[in-house]
Structures are given as C-alpha cells and as structure tokens.
Symmetry: C2
Subunit: 338 residues, 2 copies
C-alpha cells in the first residue's frame, strides 16, 4: 500500500462531516462540551476508519507540555533492578500517553546536564532519577529552576520529600518469623564482610532476631566471606560448623546468588533443604523460582517504586508537591527452600 500522507484531525473532521474542533472535543472527551451521540459516533467511526493517531508534538505544543519525562541514570546500573523500575514507570506513563526519554547522568556542569537542556527545550516535563549519582547541589539547582523531579534511591541518609525509597525490615521480620514458626531456633546471616554492620540488610536481620527472640549465632555474619564465590561460602560454612559444632537451622543470605550457592553447597554435602536447613535470600531474580528447591526470597518493590516515582512526578508537575517521601515495603516470598 505504501506510505500515504499522515492523517490529521482535519482529515477525520472532513470524513465525519464536522469541524476539527468537534473531533478534538470527542477524542479528548473535553469536559463541559456537549456532543450529540450521533456526531460522536460519526467522529469515532471516521477516526477508526482512517486509523487516526493524534500528533503528540502538536498537541504538546498547544498544551505547553512535552508529553514525555526523562529517566536519568548512570551508565552502570544493575540490570534486572533497572528494567523492573522502568516497567513501573512506563505503565504509569502509558496511562497518560506520556513517553520516556532516556538520559545519562553526566555531571559536566549543572546547567548543562542533558535533562536540564531537555527540559528547557520542552522535550520533557520532568525527570526521574533512578539510582543515579546526583549531587545535592544539582538537586538544589533543579529546585531553584522549578524543574520537576523525583529521586528513586534506596540508600538511607538521603532525605527529601520527592523521594521514593524502600523499607526492608518488615519483610525480613516476616521471613525470620516464618523460619521460627517452622522450628528454626537459630538463624545465621550470610553476607560479605566488607559490607558488615553498616548494611541495611544486616541491620534488618539483627532487628528481626531481637524482636523474635531467635538465637544469634556467635559466628554470624560469616565474616570471612570476602566475596560470594562458591569456595568462599564453602569455607565460611565449614568454619561456622567448626565453631558452632553444627550447621545453623536457617540462613538468611544477603544476595540471591549467595542463596543459590548455598543451595549448591547443601546439595553437594547431602544437606536437605528445607528439612535440615532453610534458606532465604534477599533480592530478586527470574531464576529464583527455577532452582531445586525453588529459592525463597525477600524482594524489593522495584516495579512499584518506578510506578510510585512516576505518579509522584506527575503530582509535582501538576503542582501538588509531596510533603513526605514514599516508602515501599520489600516482601517475603516463601518458596520451597524455607
């Protein structure tokens, strides 16, 4: 058939035998404008017949909106997480017919940052920072210039109202409670030494133990763990067994990959999971349900953080600045390993 000139609202109007304005009224369901059912159907039919899609650029120009928001991130975001957040954002955008413009956060000069230029060039209506390195001074610049933005960031100590972050403790508590209810008197933590006590995950673990009166094993976290390789984990567990004269009944792993490795260790050594040992890992992976046994996890609200951040951005764009951050809960997803 080849390309015919793109169809405009004028074409629809002509075919429906009405004016362009009427087409706009019908298609946008403009409030306070009454359209007879007859013409409405005519317009709808014409639009469908011509396969009409409004020119967002023209629309945006008239509305003084860009109909797009920027997602700005670093070049080395971890992937699964990032894509889930993007999904959440995209779904909210789709509802409003907004598109997603992608920016990297390079900090040459605050004024020259890509998203700033884009905003001033009317290409975006606001920006969402997704785990991006972003200085307080730059955020101050954005505020000063009234550029709408939201920060999606999990690390604590970063407090502003237009922030979406996550809360881990309750989910860990739920997991440990579940382990306890299934008979585990002692729950060990498997994590990297260099993270140590400062980590949110370890803090949540300690918090859960004290709330539930579960024994803290003397050798936990397994501090000899330099990385999450299989050999490291194996030797750490061996040392644990030696010091505590036996395996823990349950282990909370800092990452999914540690969880997997622990499962492999157990399999190799004839330890039955979850009968002899329960395993729960913190993090998300498409593969968690696919291991044998399927790995129980504590998962971050990635999609929801994206969606919440995007909704918050729209609120800001529409003049309703949030007064307090959105905090979303991680959740305990028990599978076969616990």
């Amino acid at each position: 058939m080849g390309r015919t000139r793109k169809v405009s609202s004028k074409d629809v109007a002509r075919l429906a035998g009405v004016s362009q304005a009427t087409v706009s009224y019908v298609l946008n369901n403009t409030q306070g404008v009454k359209i007879s059912d007859h013409t409405r159907q005519a317009v709808l039919a014409a639009a469908k017949k011509l396969n009409y899609i409004p020119n967002q650029c023209a629309r945006g120009m008239r509305l003084k909106k860009a109909m797009s928001v920027a997602v700005v991130s670093d070049k080395d975001v971890s992937n699964t997480r990032f894509m889930s957040v993007l999904e959440g954002i995209k779904d909210v955008l789709a509802d409003r017919n907004y598109s997603l413009t992608f920016c990297f956060s390079r900090w040459q000069d605050d004024h020259e940052a890509e998203h700033v230029q884009y905003f001033r060039a009317n290409r975006i209506d606001g920006a969402i920072f997704v785990w991006a390195a972003v200085s307080e001074s730059h955020l101050a610049y954005l505020i000063e210039n009234e550029i709408p933005f939201v920060v999606i960031h999990s690390s604590p100590g970063f407090d502003r109202p237009n922030l979406v972050r996550s809360h881990l403790d309750s989910a860990i508590l739920a997991a440990v409670a579940d382990l306890k209810s299934k008979g585990a008197d002692t729950v060990a933590f498997l994590g990297r030494a260099r993270r140590g006590v400062r980590s949110r995950k370890y803090a949540g673990y300690l918090n859960a133990l004290s709330h539930l009166g579960v024994t803290t094993p003397p050798e936990s976290p397994l501090s000899t763990l330099a990385d999450d390789s299989e050999a490291q984990i194996e030797s750490a567990l061996n040392e644990y067994v030696r010091k505590n004269s036996g395996l823990p009944q349950a282990v909370l792993c800092e990452t999914v990959s540690m969880g997997f490795r622990l499962l492999r260790y157990a399999a190799r050594n004839g330890i039955r999971v979850p009968q002899d040992l329960s395993v729960v890992a913190i993090g998300s992976s498409r593969f968690a349900p696919l291991s044998v046994p399927a790995l129980s996890t504590i998962e971050g609200p990635l999609y929801e953080m994206g969606a919440a951040g995007c909704k918050m951005l729209f609120d800001i764009i529409e003049g309703h600045a949030p007064t307090t951050p959105v905090v979303l809960e991680w959740s305990y997803v028990p599978r076969e390993s616990s």
Copy 2:
C-alpha cells in the same frame, strides 16, 4: 529567582533588534542566507544572554520531524552490554540534537506495538532494536509501512541490510596468535557444555586453532562444565589435568566471569599467571582491568554497534537505505593475564 516564562526566539529577536526569521537564520546557520557579521553577533549575544534554547517540539513540528528515535528492547537485556550500546546511540543522537525514547518490545499486535504508535504519533522518527525479540513478520510490517528501523543483533542467521552485527573470529585469532607467540603450544577452551559446538565463540576458537596449527587438547571444551561456578570450573580443570597429564598452557574462557574464576583457581593452587598459565576471556567488564593479574579480554564493539546502528538509522530516515549490514569486529585487549 523563580521561574520566568520560557524564553522564545521572539524574545531573542526583540533583544537583538531583529526579526524572528533572522534569529532562526543565525542559529541554524541556514544555507544560502547571508547575514552581516554585525547582526549575527547581536543575535548570538542576545541568545546567550537570555540563555535561549529552541523549543524542539515546535521545531520538530515545523520540520515534520520528531527529533527523537526509539530504542526498543526486551525487559531482560543483559546490562553492561545494553548500557554501552545506549552510549553509542546517544552520542550520535546528541550530534543531531535528537533524543532517545525508550520502548519495550511487547508483541500484542503488530499494529499496536508501542514504537509503531509512537511513529504514527510523531514522537519518533525511527526505531533501533537492541537485542530485542522481534519477529520477521513484524519487521515486514514496518517495511510495508515505511517506518525506519535498524536491528542490532549479534546472532547469525538473521540477514537483512539494515542490521548491525559483530564478527568475533578475527579477534580470537589475534588472541590465540598472541598466546602462541608467547610459547603456548596448546590452548584449551573453557565454556559451558550446553552451549557446546553451536556457539560462535567455540567456532571461532576452533577456527583459530586450525589456522595457527595450535594443538587442540583432547579435553576441550571442558564439557563437564554445567555452569560457571567456581567448583564446576575447579573439577573441570582437575579432570583436564588428569586426562591430559598436566594443565594447558593457555585457556580461552567463554565469559569474563569464567576468566575471573580461573584466575582465582590459579591463585589458590599456586599456578602463576601468565608464566605457567595464560588466561584470556571473551566479554567486557569494568572489572577486567582490576583483577590480579588484570584479565586479558576479547571485547565486543558495543559502543560502536550502537553508534553505527544510529547512524544507519539516520541514513534510512534521510532516504539512503543501506544495501548491506554493518559488521563490526571484536577486539583482543591483552592485559596482564596473557
């Protein structure tokens, strides 16, 4: 200072004491229009003073362009690779003042795909598929409807002119030649069994061996390798040693993580790298230069593939369809481990 109304070309014109048209001429360096140096400077000064940035939406509308292209990908692209490609694309886009609109490839209905809608709504001028699942029938639809697109895809057997793919064999040849020149008579391949003979990487390895007359060890690829865990690699190597009565002098690893694990194995067993054993891994990682010894790698032309794809897309948009795919070479990056 607060937000003042956005500055338009009219404001610049007024300040410079010229007409809007002149501003446009100067700022776009319009061909075939002579502007006196005096007015040119006046316009430039005014623009700078007002910090003027043209409204891309209005500009695009007038030019009948969207000033943006879509990157279409799946939700689970592997990350380092993806971000590098995006960088290449973004740099080319920046040259032309284009922005990047992000789409997921969901195949509900060919006509309803997001990028199709976006094209018809004038939000994008074309699409780049980055390792996305995309059916031939959908591509046919895009061609039929004259929607400009390019496919960045490495797997073979996918042949069309508007394609950017990569070629691995020469880089592997270079690596093996280097290993040989340093005295390695035998080079083993460390890869996952399930990939086996069908993989491009293994094929490239065999090709290099036969070209250079390097010995193919009987136990290569290390077919017992079920995954890339440390324990698996260790037992595979042990088996290799048993069957070949000794370690290979050099190993080509299918992935960077295998390379790292091999280095750790060597360190644990007192094998000196590269004196006793040379290691080269296929793939890219920020960490490759950071290991001890720094890992030699064979790296894909990720950035370049993005850039080439984007340039190709602009060619297509401007009516110059390519007649043949772009094929870019991987490169051998020797570091300390070889």
